[in-house]
């Protein structure tokens, strides 16, 4: 059994004893299955640290992760499962299209969501009180990319996305930002993720003769596109968005081909001072390298804990109020203060560049 059937029977009084549960909806199967563990581990690392220092409000934290397979229906079921499990805060959300249907489920249950990865502006379009984005939005990233192109004096840009919301969001916004600017968008297209041959797209890009190609999808396809661009004789610049910032990009593209590839990216442990210790503890805990969104997930847990601590209880409304009040809390992308739309005040995007086997800060 459990719960009443009437309209006011959900989101009742929060428990005041026992573990505080944090829920995470993340892909653990399907084509994005590789991402899930990175996020899960990042969050777990934060929980371990917090628990070691006594937990929050004297209670221990516990992570409950559910698979979404990047599928909206599975994600919604996962969210409902987390609601039923009694989580206090949701710290998950990777695929935007799969995160959208979870908004109302968490919303109706009065559970705050601190979304570490999904960053489509659609998530905050309806101004739901419980939704907070901990990742820079597409708008911010696009701005960073456009600024770079202009300042580098590039005349022609090709924008390529993988036709998913995250990726397309960035290209459309970049194109908008470049409207009427010195950099012209000479080619814009959406390829299908999961394929291997992008030569048709590459041919079209080459024909448009751009100075820079901006790829906003993930590293799997990104690596292939870089390789195929180079094989087709493309000599200009290539830039990728944060979804492609991963060592694997270099491996897939081939070290030679990947040299000098730029990226728009928020701060990562690799790029901030003191990051090495974080990487080391991650490695120690999970015997693996951190990957995309490990840091954001780590931060999401810490932010959640901070808000609960400030609220003094786990009641959704109070935690949300606490989240809105947070100011100056240190996270990887800088110091945290949510905008009225519940996004980061400062996207914190930097330009990285591939040097050797990995990305480094471009100076």
């Amino acid at each position: 059994g459990g719960g009443g059937l009437t309209s006011d029977s959900q989101g009742g009084a929060a428990a005041t004893t026992g573990d505080i549960l944090l829920g995470m909806v993340t892909p653990l199967s399907g084509s994005s299955a590789a991402i899930g563990p990175y996020m899960k581990n990042g969050a777990q690392l934060a929980i371990n640290e917090l628990n070691a220092s006594g937990g929050v409000l004297g209670r221990q934290l516990k992570l409950v992760a559910e698979d979404e397979g990047c599928d909206p229906k599975t994600a919604a079921a996962a969210a409902a499962k987390l609601v039923t499990a009694g989580i206090s805060v949701s710290v998950g959300g990777y695929c935007s299209s799969a995160t959208l249907p979870t908004l109302s489920i968490f919303g109706k249950a009065n559970i705050p969501m601190i979304i570490p990865a999904a960053n489509s502006t659609d998530l905050i379009k309806d101004k739901l009180p419980n939704v907070f984005l901990l990742n820079g939005t597409g708008a911010q990233q696009a701005q960073a990319a456009a600024d770079f192109m202009k300042s580098a004096g590039l005349k022609a840009a090709a924008l390529v996305d993988d036709n998913t919301s995250y990726s397309k969001d960035i290209t459309t916004r970049t194109a908008k930002d470049l409207e009427g600017q010195s950099t012209k968008v000479v080619n814009q297209q959406s390829v299908t993720a999961g394929e291997q041959d992008y030569s048709a797209a590459v041919t079209a890009i080459l024909r448009a003769n751009p100075d820079i190609v901006y790829w906003t999808g993930y590293y799997q396809e990104g690596g292939l596109i870089i390789k195929q661009l180079r094989a087709a004789g493309y000599k200009g610049k290539i830039m990728v968005a944060d979804g492609s910032v991963d060592k694997q990009l270099v491996t897939i593209a081939g070290k030679d081909n990947a040299q000098g590839v730029l990226a728009t990216m928020t701060q990562t442990p690799q790029t901030i001072p003191g990051g090495e210790t974080w990487i080391a503890s991650y490695k120690k805990a999970f015997n693996a390298d951190p990957g995309p969104y490990s840091t954001q997930s780590y931060d999401a847990v810490r932010v959640a804990a901070e808000a609960i601590k400030n609220a003094g209880n786990t009641n959704g409304k109070d935690v949300i109020a606490a989240l809105e009040k947070i100011d100056g809390f240190k996270i990887f992308s800088g110091s945290l203060k949510f905008t009225p739309e519940h996004t980061l005040t400062n996207g914190g995007f930097d330009i990285l560049v591939v040097k050797g086997d990995d990305f480094a800060l471009n100076n």
């Binding site: 059994g1 309209s7 199967s29 909206p72 299209s97 959208l100 919301s165």
Partner: protein, 383 residues
């Protein structure tokens, strides 16, 4: 065999495969090295009289073919929130019910009429998007969108079915698959459909003072229950028989005056309407819809529900749909093992129940008719 592979030996000869025995080996285009057939209902040698054989349905299947049985299932479904009202239970049950509606709709096309449709999710998408766009962009209440959903689904069915229903089954399969992909990609590429993020913030039917998810659950239960009933009844009526005739033998059906093309068309369009209406329920339930929900894999899953349950058998298809909808949820904790297990289970189930979990049976007839036959066993001879 229900789906004609188009390779019926055009002229097996005077008798051939039809000759007095179920010869599934020919029918499937396969053969066992040795004709080692299991138990089949066969007329006794030479006698021509097989008194009452096939109508002696086993007690279980008589129980479940009883009209009351369906009622009991519906009552149980309605009572679910009183038994377990957790958000998770309600959600996955609603999902499963919507899936049942899809499977029942596809069953009309595949199970009744024998048309292989690999792009059924297209109609699901058309329904969901029509409802989604009309409610969010124009602020309509969901109910008001239903006529438009039906019209949109019918238009979709006519557009794709019209020119292609003459194709042989496997060609039809690829055409429908292509159509499914076209619909999904188009939704992904257009602006008014919200691009890859789709449409979100879709309102529900109203909460009637209940918890919103439970209100939706009950609405869905009622609609799906009616849909199941309608499809079962359609299957037994005149049109339903015509579908089966076409599935079994188009030429013979034509010779009986049945316009086979129209009949196929009717199946296709009816299926489209079911799919479209299921789409409305889905849109309401998800509140946010986006292209990935309508991919080929989803069409394949619906087809699986139909085949796994038993093509042409309404209770079978309902069971198949519930299995296919809930199994991955039950295996949720297994992560990537989940689909490995799922795949292996599919194979195992099909090997042990090649006709489906609950196949359609000929010979299950209303009790009234059964009694009647007893009297008529010694037929009066008309001069």
């Amino acid at each position: 065999m229900s789906i004609d592979d188009g390779s019926r030996p055009e002229r097996p000869s005077n008798s051939s495969a039809n000759r007095s025995r179920p010869d599934a080996a020919d029918a499937s285009g396969f053969v066992n090295a040795v004709d080692d057939r299991g138990d089949t209902k066969v007329a006794l040698a030479g006698s021509g009289l097989a008194p009452g054989k096939a109508s002696t349905v086993n007690p279980l299947s008589r129980l479940i073919s009883h009209p009351l049985f369906g009622l009991v299932v519906v009552v149980l479904a309605i009572a679910l929130p009183f038994i377990n009202s957790s958000a998770y239970t309600i959600r996955i049950s609603t999902d499963a019910l919507i899936f049942v509606m899809l499977a029942v709709g596809l069953n009309i096309v595949v199970g009744y009429c024998g048309l292989l449709d690999l792009g059924y999710a297209a109609f699901f998408a058309i329904g969901a998007y029509t409802a989604g766009v009309l409610t969010t962009t124009f602020g309509w209440p969901v109910i008001a969108t239903i006529p438009f959903v039906v019209v949109a689904a019918v238009i979709g069915g006519v557009l794709i079915g019209g020119p292609t229903l003459r194709l042989r089954s496997d060609y039809l399969a690829i055409v429908t698959l292509g159509f499914g992909e076209i619909v999904r990609i188009t939704a992904n590429n257009l602006d008014f459909t919200g691009g890859p993020n789709g449409v979100f913030g879709i309102p529900d039917f109203g909460d009637f003072g209940l918890r919103a998810d439970i209100a939706t659950y009950w609405v869905v239960t009622v609609v799906v229950g009616l849909a199941v009933l309608a499809s079962a009844r359609l299957g037994r009526g005149r049109l339903g028989r015509a579908w089966r005739f076409v599935r079994e033998d188009e030429d013979a059906a034509e010779a009986m005056g049945i316009h086979t093309y129209q009949v196929k068309f009717a199946a296709y369009v009816t299926g489209a309407i079911f799919g479209g209406l299921a789409g409305v329920l889905f849109a309401v339930h998800q509140t946010a819809i986006s292209p990935p929900s309508f991919n080929f894999l989803y069409s394949a899953l619906i087809l699986m529900a139909v085949v796994l349950g038993g093509m042409g058998s309404t209770p079978g298809v309902v069971v198949g749909a519930i299995v296919i909808a809930l199994l991955p949820e039950l295996l949720r904790g297994a992560e990537n093992w989940r689909y490995l297990v799922f795949g292996v289970l599919l194979i195992v189930v099909m090997i042990f129940r090649p006709q489906g979990i609950w196949p359609h049976r000929v010979g299950e007839k209303p009790a009234k008719a059964r009694r009647k036959r007893v009297v008529e066993d010694e037929p009066e001879v008309i001069p």
